[in-house]
Amino acid sequence: MNAPLGPPLIDVEHLTMRFGGLLAVDDVSFVARPQEITAIIGPNGAGKTTVFNCITGFYKPTIGRLTLRGGDRDYLLERMQGHEIGQRAKVARTFQNIRLFPAMTVLENLMVAQHNKLMHASGWSVFGLLGLRRYRRAEEEGVELARGWLERIALIDDADRPAGELPYGAQRRLEIARAMCTEPRLLCLDEPAAGLNPHESAALNRLLVSIRERDGVGVLLIEHDMSVVMNISDHVIVLDYGRKIAEGPPAEVQSDPAVIRAYLGTDDEAING
């Protein structure tokens, strides 16, 4: 295992989530570092999405502490309200089943993502209603940020089309760009490669690497597509039945007997491929 690099971006300690009699996540601890892609893998029902939902405030964890280290202060995510995690702690996420705003255009989707910044600039709508320069400039900057992302995900020509009309792969890319337009510290992606063809999957790899290299954002990734996990992640965490069974660099995890057993042996190919 490589020597730990720098301070963690998010520190998950003893995370436990219980739904009635079901223990979905059982005492999981891990860290994700800035400018690293951390992948969470595991068989279906292992509790990966539950971990995500705890980090992004959709569930309140039963036990555990989730500390996000911001620039100047730490945020205890388990104590924050759902929308504050995006607004203050700057954790953005995408969803397993795409959740765009389908009737709104591609550009509008990216503008909604900059809501809090623009809301502030519009003086909670007062300056905006008066049509002050200050707001118009902020909006232009917002459009420029959106334009930059549309160029990176190759959707610049579709900017004025309703997001719901885009093909599936483009919707996946747009959802990532929308999350990035919130200017997050930590980006949580829930199966971004699901349903993509190999070509699109390779493009996704390049996009995620550029997010790590260029934007310096920490990425937390749930993925079944091993070509994505093994090629681009810096650190892999393996969950099974709600417990962490292995952790380390991709190559190391790949040959871990516990991991192979968790995938029931028959899925060796998936691990090795």
Binding site: T56, G57, F58, G82, H83, E84, I85, G86, Q87, R88, K90, A92, R93, F95, R99, L100, F101, P102, A103, M104, T105, L107, E108, M111, V112, A113, Q114, H115, N116, L118, M119, S122, W124, S125, G128, L129, Y135, E139, V143, A146, R147, L150, I156, A159, D160, P162, R178, A179, T182
Partner: protein, 471 residues
């Protein structure tokens, strides 16, 4: 085609049978009070004529559906002729029924041609230009027509009254459009805020002597405050649950008004509410002490219609303010957040948007415009009672928004003209007025299931060159 004729006849016969079975109780006989008791009054001839009309109508529709347009149109023409003929039918309504059935058949027969012609015309260069200009200028044209209305020959008492009524509903529709069309919150108690505005003005003017223009903003603020107070606990709910709770709150406000006798005078209502003034001058034949009448101020002879024209322009102005405000809000972050909330609340939360605050602003802004409209209503009627704020009003306003096309501004105008104007124009139809109203709603839902104007114009564009139309 001829091979299908027996099955078409069978289908038409079946339809006529169903109509006869249903109609025998509705049309066939009615009970008449003859003093000592009830006897039956039979109308079997009416029923027979209606059933025969339905038989031929259905036959014509299946003919048209099977491509036999000419026979369908001939059948329709024959029905029009029969309806318009001086033939002795038992009631005048049957003439209308037969003739209207014929008109519908002719339209159905000619529809494919008309449709083709329209799509060809729309695709021709002139059609494209016209279509764009139409979309861009139709709003302005409507506005110009509305401004000029009082000075045209149509500007008589009856039409102006109707105009004021329609504009009131247009304004309410635009206000509710913020809540339902943009933010996607199904509010069935919108009339409660209308009532708050109306009672704010009625009470402040009759008991504290405040004028219309002073109270107008106060009434809006009052209604907005009620919107926030009511909204805070209920906006955690979604969809149907929210609809039920808002319905309940609407009724609660009405019941409080009805029963809080000391404040609101209960079911007796509040009377002699002063009307709006023009720079302090009143609209009346003789001014109260210390005041001036408008006819004195302007040096024109007194005419009752001046007051109506003034009211018309006030509500036109208020409605326009509502519209402009909404258009502007849509282009601001808060307006985009409303629409995003309608599309996907979970995604909004993940993007750091506070759903409760965003919904509350939509609710409060919508309530504020209802408050403005309410205080205008009180000033216009000069008498208000809880009778005016029943659930059916909320339902009509909601129907205007939904039929107009959720979120569409011009659609609300069209739907308000249809839903408020038509029943007034159809007064001659008597009891069948609501039937025509229902038919209009069914037709809109069949032919335009997403509302009259379903087009959504983006709030901003990256490539304005591709811009197709105005609003």
């Amino acid at each position: 085609m001829a091979a299908r004729l027996p099955s078409m006849l069978k289908d038409a016969g079946l339809t006529a049978f169903v109509a006869a079975a249903l109609g025998v109780f509705v049309v066939g006989f009615r009970t008449v009070d003859v003093g000592r008791g009830l006897t039956f009054d039979y109308h079997l001839v009416d029923l027979a004529i209606a059933v025969v009309t339905i038989f031929f109508g259905r036959l014509g529709l299946s003919l048209a559906a099977n491509g036999l347009r000419w026979p369908a149109m001939v059948l329709g023409a024959a029905m029009i002729a029969a309806g318009a003929s001086p033939l002795e039918l038992p009631s005048g309504f049957l003439h209308w029924f037969v003739a209207l059935g014929g008109v519908l058949l002719v339209i159905r027969g000619a529809w494919p041609w008309a449709n083709d012609a329209m799509s060809v015309a729309a695709r021709s260069p002139a059609g494209v230009v016209l279509g764009r200009a139409g979309a861009k200028w139709s709003g302005w044209l409507l506005l110009a027509a509305a401004v000029a209305m009082p000075f045209t020959p149509f500007g008589d008492q009856k039409t102006m009254d109707l105009g004021v009524l329609i504009l009131t509903y247009v304004m309410l529709g635009w206000g509710l459009n913020i809540v339902v069309g943009l933010a996607g919150l199904l509010d069935l108690g919108y009339v409660a805020f209308y009532a708050v505005g109306a009672y704010s003005y009625a009470l402040l003017s009759t008991q504290h002597g405040l004028g219309f223009w002073t109270v107008l903003p106060l009434a809006g603020m009052m209604a907005a405050a009620f919107g926030i107070v009511l909204g805070f606990p209920v906006l955690r709910l979604r969809g149907d649950y929210l609809a039920i709770v808002t319905l309940g709150f609407g009724e609660i406000i009405r019941l409080v008004i009805l029963n809080w006798f000391d404040l609101t005078n209960g079911p007796a209502g509040i009377g002699s509410i002063p009307g709006p003034t023009l720079f302090g001058a009143v609209f009346a034949e003789t001014a109260p002490a210390g005041k001036q009448t408008v006819s004195e101020m302007l040096g024109i002879p007194f005419d009752g219609i001046h007051r109506l024209i003034f009211l018309y322009y006030i509500i036109l102005l208020l409605a326009l303010i509502t519209n402009l405000f909404t258009q502007r809000m849509r282009r601001l972050p808060v307006g985009r957040a409303w629409e995003a909330l309608r599309e996907d609340e979970t995604a909004c939360r993940a993007l750091g948007i506070n759903p409760t605050n965003t919904k509350l602003t939509a609710f409060a802004v919508g309530a504020m415009f209802a408050g403005f409209a309410g205080s205008f209503f009180a000033a216009k009627q000069r008498f208000i009672s809880p009778e005016s704020f029943v659930f059916i009003e909320s339902a009509i306003i909601l129907a205007i928004v939904v039929l107009g096309g959720m979120g569409s501004q011009i659609g609300v105008v069209l739907a308000a003209v249809l839903l408020i104007g038509l029943p007034e124009w159809f007064r001659d139809l008597g009891n069948y007025r609501m039937l025509a109203f229902g038919l209009a709603m069914v037709l809109i839902m069949v032919f335009r299931p997403r509302g009259l104007v379903a087009h959504r114009e983006p709030s901003l564009r990256l490539h304005p060159a591709n811009r197709g139309d105005g609003r």
